[in-house]
Homo-oligomer: 568 residues x 2
């Protein structure tokens, strides 16, 4: 079969392969909306496509339709989007998916990669600003984050998944000739090996960052020959519905069965998750979402293979720094970024009781706390900055959690910053909150020893720097953690922290300040999630993320006699 699409995207794909080896900085996509080709036309076109979808049925030509569903509500307008998605009979989707896999599995890995590179390119060229709007009005991200984090960066993670899938597939030779003497006989076998897909994958997308995890998961499953049923969060369906429709069209145009990718929409009242995970035809589950359901998935998906990315308490250790203001400013911005609705947002700041060493002397613990509060306040109290950084709150339940933590903090901590709505300059009715910041101590671990999803932070008084590191890494090991942040001028302490965080399984960023968000995870370079603690068992993207999605089956038979050999 033709691999014309692979040839079309070959140079981009080979560049991505090279970058994954050396892990330096690269992307084929512009990092800011303004740099998008003909942005002036593309942006309003995307906005119009989004606008035209509101209050209407979402057209998705997939089998098994049994009704329609839709409960999305924009965090920016707090109005329902009014989009009705087709509700599907799950068994029909699985049946169609299995049927669709036949031709897809038979295609060469390169052919599949070509089709999927084309699909990513179509998302980029035709749907990026539509998805940007869809992410803003479901997840509540800022326009820039919805473009970069949920757009081009997610596309990059998709390409990265294809790179590793291709690497794992290429490790399997399709044919071998094997020859050995057994007693007096020379046995010559022709062997053929096929990468057999595991089966139907179910991909859960989360409410606040739907595309970033789901795209690489979907592509990893598809590249290895599987079909994917996408289960979006009922609050953030549209970005994934656009994705599914676009992929179906690309697959169809390439001569494959579009039912390789389908959408299973559910509602908060009647969730489908457990049924999908335990469906007898489910062979792979990718889950991004809450730690509680993630744990359930890990324990109950057998015999399906499970990849999870859930949550944890991301930690910061402040030991010493050359520039405390710069450090606190960087921390404050990152703790505010998308109202800390990212699985990588720092939450817990561990500070020695004796304070933080700086060139100007030791800064006492209380002063460090207060200066962090001031830096966060400086983000929240300027609406334009707040809008760009804090953006909106995806779910009303997050506001309820902030209230609840505010009350709890009154009992076992000191409230450094009171959360309050800020007025978004473009969306007067946006659901917003400035952060709650609480000062507490390690005696009140019940406050902070789990992810408090949303704009909540804790400054934790520790005995000394060693205690701060021990507390932080123990909390990560027990309660999960994806990212970690350290400020120290002591190389010995840094080495100790690197070893401790490596063992706890959080990706560590050291002494970083400046405009880059501390939790920025670069595709092709930063591994996301280690799998070493309860915050998830998968990593974007390593070989383990792809290698089990297919299995190797073989067939062998005596070789046909060659011309040199007597044929009688």
């Amino acid at each position: 079969m033709s691999s014309a699409l692979f040839e079309k995207h070959r140079s981009r794909f080979e560049r991505a392969q090279q970058v994954c080896r050396v892990r330096d900085c690269w992307s084929p996509f512009p990092d800011m909306p303004a740099k998008y080709p003909d942005a002036a036309a593309a942006q309003p076109r995307g906005a119009a496509a989004f606008g035209a979808q509101l209050g209407r049925a979402f057209e998705l030509d997939q089998p098994g339709r049994i009704g329609q569903l839709g409960q999305e509500c924009s965090p920016y307008t707090q109005q329902p989007l009014g989009i009705a998605y087709p509700q599907a009979d799950i068994d029909v989707l699985f049946h169609a998916a299995r049927h669709a896999m036949r031709g897809w599995a038979a295609a060469s890995p390169q052919h599949r990669v070509g089709v999927l590179m084309e699909a990513l390119d179509v998302l980029y060229r035709e749907h990026l600003f539509e998805i940007q709007q869809a992410v803003m009005h479901t997840a509540g991200q800022s326009a820039n984050m919805a473009y970069a984090g949920s757009g081009v960066n997610a596309l990059d993670r998709g390409i990265e998944a294809l790179v590793y899938a291709a690497q794992a597939l290429q490790a399997v030779t399709p044919h071998a000739r094997w020859e050995r003497r057994f007693g007096a006989a020379q046995i010559v076998l022709e062997k053929s090996y096929r990468a057999t897909p595991r089966g139907v994958a179910v991909c859960f997308a989360c409410a606040t960052f739907p595309t970033w995890n789901a795209w690489p998961s979907m592509l990893a499953s598809l590249a290895t020959g599987n079909a994917v049923i996408v289960k979006p969060h009922p609050g953030s369906v549209l970005p994934m519905a656009i994705t599914v429709r676009a992929l179906r069209r690309v697959l169809d145009a390439a001569g494959f069965d579009p039912n390789l990718v389908t959408l299973a929409v559910d509602s908060v009242e009647a969730p489908l998750g457990k049924r999908l995970v335990q469906h007898p035809a489910t062979a792979i589950v990718d889950f991004t979402g809450s730690a509680a359901f993630g744990q359930w998935v890990e324990r109950n998906a057998h015999p399906a293979l499970v990849f999870t990315e859930t949550s944890g308490c991301n930690t910061v250790v402040l030991e010493s720094t050359d520039d405390l203001d710069a450090a606190l400013r960087a921390l404050a911005t990152t703790m505010c970024m998308f109202s800390a609705q990212m699985c990588t947002s720092p939450q817990n700041v561990y500070v020695p009781r004796g304070g933080v060493a700086t060139p100007g002397g030791q800064v006492p613990f209380d002063e460090v706390s207060e200066r962090l509060a001031e830096a966060i306040d400086a983000v929240g109290n300027e609406p334009k900055k707040a809008a760009m950084i804090l953006a909106a709150i995806q779910s009303p339940s997050t506001l309820a959690l902030i209230d609840q933590m505010r009350s709890a903090a009154g009992r076992s901590g000191r409230v450094l910053l009171e959360p309050q709505p800020y007025v978004h300059p473009d969306f007067a009715n946006a659901r917003t909150s400035t952060p709650l910041l609480v000062q507490t101590s390690t005696r009140h671990g019940e406050l902070y020893r789990e992810e408090r999803f949303g704009p909540m932070g804790f400054v934790i008084e520790c005995e000394d720097a060693d205690d701060a590191l021990t507390q932080a890494t123990n909390d990560v090991q027990r309660h999960g953690g994806l990212t970690a942040f350290l400020y120290s001028r002591d190389e010995c302490f840094i080495s100790q922290a690197e070893a401790a965080y490596a063992q706890a399984g959080a990706q560590l960023t050291i002494n970083l300040s400046g405009p880059m968000p501390l939790n920025f995870a670069a595709a092709y370079s930063d591994y996301h999630v280690t799998g070493l603690n309860p915050a998830g068992n998968a990593s974007l993207t390593d070989l383990a993320f792809v290698a089990g999605r297919f299995r190797i089956t073989q067939s062998r038979r005596p070789a046909a006699p060659t011309a040199q050999e007597p044929t009688a």
Copy 2:
């Protein structure tokens, strides 16, 4: 650190890497005992080492000793071996293993591979015939199989595991320099990545083929930086005890903590398996053994990563053949091989009701059954041949199962061959049985739709060739199956069978006859177990077998200013 051991074994290792890519035939080891260097001296030396061990305590200098245990009994003499192994406090073993991992994890992958190549070489040079005797007198294998299958072939599978571990580790660059503009600032980060081992692995070895699965599992875990606690079957401890002791010595000599490899012996009355699987420090489980316990392990080991190889009903489809006698002879030998106590032994032979097409015409179903019975009988009724091929029965419970199946077959089938002990020419008291062969139909699936461990075979009457293939592949898919065998002259039927078995997940051998055992699995060439059906979730050896045994952790920090850049 020095990689002198890697340099010592570099050419052998690189040759193995090359062979794994092309999967042709190679081994650094001689395939028959007689070809072993100075075999005339080495064989009696191994036998003497084994003999000297009988009736004594097994010296193993590992921590946590709380008593001693030993219940092995030779299948050849039916006498207890009288070897007392140290019984260990499990918590002490885990603690020691975790402690031992520190230095080991810090060594380079190449350094670890060098040490492990040395360990395999030491097993080969110093312990091969001792292990051969140990396997004979615990598992009941013939001398040749104990040398080849449990010796050199298992060593090859160990090297193969190292090749894939090295490949997965090499995919991770240790360092990167990453540079990107954010607004007005140029951010330059130095990133370092480490392959962090997952933790302590528990490796279960089975009674009948202890080394073949355990060695590659152990080496996969060790190469990726983990420690291993070996849990042998109480009936076959010695081969693994010798392994553990040898590896501890090599690790120690190379400057590593020998507690990277320890032995956890248990008894049939007080099994340790569940405690080991669910120990909080268990990070990886490799399990070879019964399907029932394997399923329990898969479901209950969370959050440990699990690799299983259990059992299933291996199937044969007879459609047509150029030489029915040759096919039946090859089948008979393979069904007799080690009394079908191999997870790859064929058990169920599916034959069309209308018989099998041959150049001499259609051979009726009953005649095919009877000629297969004759061919099996020809193996069993000649003691010298029987001894070489059938060898001995590992467990008395297998004889009980044969009895039970004999009775059941009387009710729902026709007994083609009555099982009976044969007299072993060298060991008059050996536990032996010639095979039970039963003719039945698909109405009596309860007879054959699971692994009947031991010398039991079923010839199953099917409606026609298509039904035979459908029955066989359905049975594999539902009840598990590792290997499959097909005889057909019809290329169209062959293609159909290749696709159906690939989907069912059994490795297919087509139209093979002659002296090579049909179920011979060549290291570096044949993948063992697909993971697509209940017979196991792991494969020897693919990338998925190694890639998850370590996780990638990273640390990043602003790069030190270079000479070109202003340092102020």
